[in-house]
């Protein structure tokens, strides 16, 4: 069984799977303007080929009893200020994980693996004759 954060209260038990933390981090990262997408592994690529979206693609998490550390692998759009966007990713991911899980996020490493260029629009040629 995948590792999970576990909390006991007088009402019962709470378990949060590591993958859930990874999905929260992935979604929070892709929400940031300037992020083209997450950089995936071979497994994630194969999953997408057969129609299954990998929501934790490009994310590695380490979850303890009270803390979490996250490694994100992202692709950014060309032309964005990478440092600024990376900082916003770190802030957004920290806020999302701490808000949704109560974990203290001690480290968020952003790895910029690539840059995405938009396809240049084809020029529409005016016809010479009418």
């Amino acid at each position: 069984m995948a590792e999970a954060r576990q909390e006991r209260s007088e009402l019962g038990e709470l378990r949060i799977a590591n993958e859930v933390v990874g999905i929260i981090a992935g979604l929070a990262a892709t929400e940031v303007e300037g992020v083209a997408g997450m950089s995936g592994s071979v497994g994630a690529g194969f999953a997408e080929m057969i129609g299954r979206k990998s929501l934790s693609k490009g994310v590695k998490v380490e979850v303890g009893e009270e803390q979490a550390a996250v490694d994100l692998y992202v692709v950014m759009h060309y032309g964005v200020p990478i440092q600024e966007v990376a900082w916003k990713i770190q802030e957004n991911v920290k806020r999302a994980i701490e808000g949704m899980t109560g974990l203290d996020v001690v480290e968020i490493n952003v790895n910029v693996q690539g840059v995405h260029f938009f396809q240049e629009e084809k020029k529409i040629e005016e016809p010479r004759v009418k």
Partner: protein, 178 residues
């Protein structure tokens, strides 16, 4: 992965696929000794060199694929910067694409290739250029160096220590149709 790697991996895949099909047919009741037995014994009696060469080639292919699998992926190089929340690492691959696109958009530049090196004092960029004809080369190069230094610093926060530019070719003008 080089082109040679791809070709050899493809050959290995074909060998395994053929072997897999043979096993599949054997499982379906096909007796290989009937079809292949005569072929193999004829081949072996006609020439011992061809089977030996083929066997040696397949053996070499197997050894190559074995070491290819053990070789592992090349380490990704990156430039790292620390923030209060963690590290920001920009891969060389991403940096090269950014610099390539930025230089390519410079006026006067027709084509280029680049390579990067990281040093404590900053990034060193080496650019090989092909430029349009009838331009002042020192001006074009100075503009490239200045704009790329500013661009990289503004976009990534990384200091560019030096930019080496080699103008390798002047693009030929296209001849007007007769």
């Amino acid at each position: 992965m080089t082109i040679l790697d791809r070709v050899l991996v493809l050959l290995g895949a074909l060998v395994f696929a053929v072997f897999g099909f043979l096993l599949f047919f054997i499982a379906g009741g096909w007796d290989p000794s009937l079809a292949l037995g005569d072929l193999v014994s004829t081949w072996a009696t006609v020439s011992t060199v061809a089977p030996a060469v083929l066997g040696f080639a397949v053996l070499l292919l197997g050894i190559y694929l074995f070491f290819f699998a053990l070789r592992g992926l090349p380490q990704e190089r990156f430039v790292e910067q620390e923030t209060s929340l963690g590290a920001v690492r920009i891969s060389f691959r991403a940096l090269e694409r950014l610099v390539y696109k930025a230089v390519r958009e410079q006026s006067g530049v027709r084509d280029l290739d680049i390579s990067l090196k990281a040093a404590p004092e900053g990034l060193t960029i080496s650019i090989g250029l092909e430029i349009h004809p009838d331009l002042n080369i020192p001006s074009v190069v100075e503009e490239v160096q200045r704009s790329i230094t500013d661009y990289v610093l503004k976009t990534t926060g990384i200091n560019v220590a030096r930019i080496y530019v080699e103008v390798r070719r002047i693009a030929r003008t296209e001849q007007a149709g007769a």
